[in-house]
Amino acid sequence: MTINVNPPVAADTTMQMGPQDYIRRSASSVPAPARQLEPVAKLIDVSKCIGCKACQSACLEWNDLREEVGVNTGVYDNPHDLTPNTFTLMRFTEWVNPETDNLEWLIRKDGCMHCADPGCLKACPAPGAIVQYSNGVVDFVKENCIGCGYCVKGCPFDIPRISKVDNRSYKCTLCSDRIAVGQGPACAKACPTKAIVFGTKEEMKAHAAERIEDLKSRGYSNAGLYDPPGVGGTHVMYVLHHADKPSIYAGLPDDPRISPLVEAWKGVTKYAGLALMGFAAAAGFVHMAVSGRNRVTVEDDEEARRLAERAPGAAPLDPSKEPSA
């Protein structure tokens, strides 16, 4: 099977996806799209990755980003973490396989997984700052981003990063601007070993199946596809030689899902909270209507005067004198 990650630029580059293809839009609703785009996916074959970081460079170049010159702390990871400028990052892990006692150098290209059920989008309070297309791409629309960082809390993969420069959130776009004109993502285009391939999700699954079969024939009996069902599947998938323990790959979550804390915050708290505040206000109106205001009577005023008069040391009341306040 040939995966064409680098199709020729078509003479006609009309936009193949746009706002009409949104299936979700943060803090707002969208009409059901008239058409369903073919779901796409990026497949990252960890077993074929040589750690050259061409994907990182291509990502910076295509997205016109610059990363600060960093500091070497004795590991290959560079920069040390995802940043508002580094949408994708090679993470290197030295792992001793307890079965073979061999050192395995695990290299995982980290970045947005483009979840079918995106936690970032669920958490986002700004209408239209995060959108999901019917082909599966989850994209940030920076014009609408308010920089609150809720997406960071919503994401099960610790991906979004808030820029200290413009206070907006950034992550991999799956090169939505390239996909829209029929091209694959820049990282896939740059990968020299075709460890990163891009196509329809079905094609990618079929391709992964071949790769997994090959890995199994080479002794990786636990080789498998990482397409976690907890987030509805993802549109960035991994072929892992040790798919039974994803977390050895620099903390890839074993069973990612939107945190129950985020579900509670964006679910019951949001609706019950509004209802409770509305109820409190309504109860006030009803109480006022039923019982009327609690008024001070003339007798109360007289009692107060009598008390003031009787008090020890009080001067006799002068009924004609106005109080001084």
Binding site: G149, N167, W265, G284, A314, P323, S324, A325
Partner: protein, 247 residues
């Protein structure tokens, strides 16, 4: 009619002491009795707190539910709302700290609070004659005071944690999730307490002037805070009696 007889009920007047009144409380005696309840500094402190609480509620609600996102327009858009909200919180925290220092002593629990709270039905019906005599604050006001105090502590602590510009990097993502959930629940609670506070101030006629002009009528004090009025009559500063020299 004697001290112990009012509204047809016979009951002894409670024991009062000088500790039942605040320094700024004062009795003006004349054709009618007027009572100073809050000094101008206490009122200023209160309104700074009130305005920051309202701004916090509006800017917070804007980010709480999508149907309220339009409230960000009041603050100059989403980015501005996100930026301003924590600073309103800082103002509120310090302003409320001032109120706390001013008010906490007379908001400490008193013997009659349990009885007052147990008769909450009569409170809501306005059957004041069935309630015990209370000091400067009744159990409902004390509830508002302590609920505000505790909730503001929770809100400032969780709010600092999720302040994206300065502090989120010090917490793990799991801690941030807990903080944001706690923050939103505490915010709902404090808005409900605020609704109770504002409603009570409107419902009990004559209350608002305490925070606008600083004074209440003698009748209001007799009706709602009789123990306070008794203490004030016996030990408080009065127009018709020279102030005790400051010791």
């Amino acid at each position: 009619m004697t001290d112990g007889t009012m509204h047809g009920h016979n009951r002894p007047a409670p024991h009062v002491t000088k500790a039942d009144i605040d320094r700024g409380d004062r009795l003006h005696v004349g054709r009618e009795v007027i009572v100073d309840r809050y000094t101008k500094w206490a009122r200023l402190n209160h309104w700074v707190t009130a305005i920051s609480l309202i701004l916090l509620a509006l800017s917070g609600l804007a980010l709480f539910h999508p149907s309220l996102f339009w409230l960000t327009n009041l603050f100059g858009g989403g980015q501005m709302t996100r930026m301003l909200h924590p600073w309103f919180g800082v103002v509120l925290f310090f302003s409320f700290a001032g109120l706390f220092i001013r008010f906490f002593r007379l908001n400490l629990p008193a013997r009659e609070d349990a009885q007052w709270a147990a008769r909450i039905g009569d409170v809501l019906k306005g059957n004041e004659e069935k309630l015990p005599e209370v000091g400067k604050y009744n159990a409902g006001q004390k509830f508002v005071f302590w609920a505000m105090s505790v909730l503001i502590m929770i809100l400032i602590a969780s709010g600092l944690g999720i302040w994206e510009e300065y502090f989120t990097q010090y917490l793990t993502i799991e801690q941030l999730r807990i903080a944001v959930l706690v923050h939103s629940i505490a915010a709902v609670a404090i808005i409900c307490v605020w609704i109770i506070h504002v409603y009570a101030a409107f419902w009990v006629q004559g209350t608002l002037s305490a925070m606008t002009r600083g004074t209440v009528s003698g009748g209001w004090a007799w009706r709602h805070h009789r123990k306070w009025l008794r203490a004030l009559a016996a030990y408080g500063k009065r127009d018709d009696r020279p102030d005790e020299p400051k010791s």
